[in-house]
Subunit: 145 residues, 4 copies
């Protein structure tokens, strides 16, 4: 049965969770976290989501020639984050297409939602969209299920 | 007549234009520009758009206690940018609300559209949304007209 | 005796250790980690060093009006880091002055030294150098001892 | 005579000058420019210095397989920069070695020195130091003269 292949709790339909700390580099002179820093946080979340599935991107690119590029994204900022905050990034597969994956992601702090985002990522080979390898598609469908 | 108030060509209904160069710091190991770098480019475009209207943000914050924060944004990435590219940022006011402004922005290179974005910015005073001052609203409506 | 005050192993003369992962944001189009990213890594290391001594910088600034600013630094880059690398930041107090602290820091990967740095940080109040509070000086001397 | 080969004013022994604006992205919650942002500014200065000598780095890397990497640097921070500041980066060749170049660089605002740096850059081919091509060495020696 499918569940036997699953090695960790975050694959059980619940989103992948990743925690990070806010440092000086993430803030701006408003005193709060710079709006573009959230995109870096979300990208870390997706990278850790892939790593939890044994997909280190550097190695994957070396083996398959496939890199992932962000094709589109939307983000709503609800509350601010500040220096020293401990943030949680939640990553969930929303849709799987032929050459692309859409992630739903959230940034929260102590249970309060700070930002929510939709990020569509496309697989590229030699600069052109390429069909996701079957083994990856299977794992993505598991998560989206 | 309205035109008499206008001091520079970019207010004639056409978008504000701003050029920038791509440096090492903007790229990532894919060899191209990192997706979050575009948000920094767009923010520079909005800052220069404000400066062209005599609204330096540091001075404005000091005088009025009002800061601008990004409330939501969406961006489509169509083509990649690379090291040494000269990019053009176009900024246009799409909508003016009571406490917020929605910008339509484009990133292009030699006439080719690389990315397009919608960015909603809200005016904050003591951390809460505050009505835009009348003088600013008038200038924004001119641009959106 | 002095040792009784010590709460954690990293104060025993050995440097404070902190691990971090390399993400897309840290790399550039050379394929490796951008040279300025190391300064962000070192700053995270100093922030965690302070946090391990119950000195959250946001709270400390709020309570004392004192912020820390980098006054000078030197760094030698010996080997490159790349995407997905797990790096260790080691932070050690090299010297304590009246208003400043000099840190010796190292970046390593699996035991290999990648970069070493000296960073002098000064305490500022209202923009001017200010004498470090006695309680902090005592803790710093412990670490430098 | 040597001067005949020189095509632009900045090669006359005086340093190359490059101006840039401070944006939100460059600042941190202290209200001022983040210390690592200066390294990005200095790198832009070196890139523009190379461009003024017809050395676009992306094209140069494609043609020769040579990339430049920072080997070591030291920087002194004297005064702070803030949002909206217009900064000048001055770049001068201090020393030319077989495979490396040492730059002396300064960051100033309206004539006030904010930071000064020494940056040693090494030419790499396939990850190893490689002798600078003769044509480049000649131009570097002109500048250092």
């Amino acid at each position: 049965v499918r569940d036997d292949k699953r090695g960790d709790a975050d694959r059980e339909g619940s989103p992948h969770r990743f925690e990070l700390r806010v440092y000086y580099e993430d803030t701006d002179f408003s005193g709060l976290v710079y709006h573009a820093s959230y995109l870096r946080f979300l990208e870390r979340g997706r990278t850790e989501w892939l790593r939890a599935r044994d997909l280190g991107q550097k190695q994957f690119a070396a083996e398959t020639g496939i890199v992932f590029a962000v094709k589109s994204l939307s983000i709503d900022y609800r509350r601010s984050a500040a220096m020293d905050d401990l943030l949680r990034i939640e990553t969930h597969v929303a849709n799987v297409g032929g050459a692309s994956v859409e992630f739903a992601q959230m940034v929260s702090r102590a249970g309060d939602l700070l930002a929510s985002a939709r990020v569509r990522v496309v697989a590229l080979k030699d600069g052109r969209p390429t069909r996701l390898p079957g083994a990856i598609r299977a794992r993505l469908h598991d998560d989206a299920g």
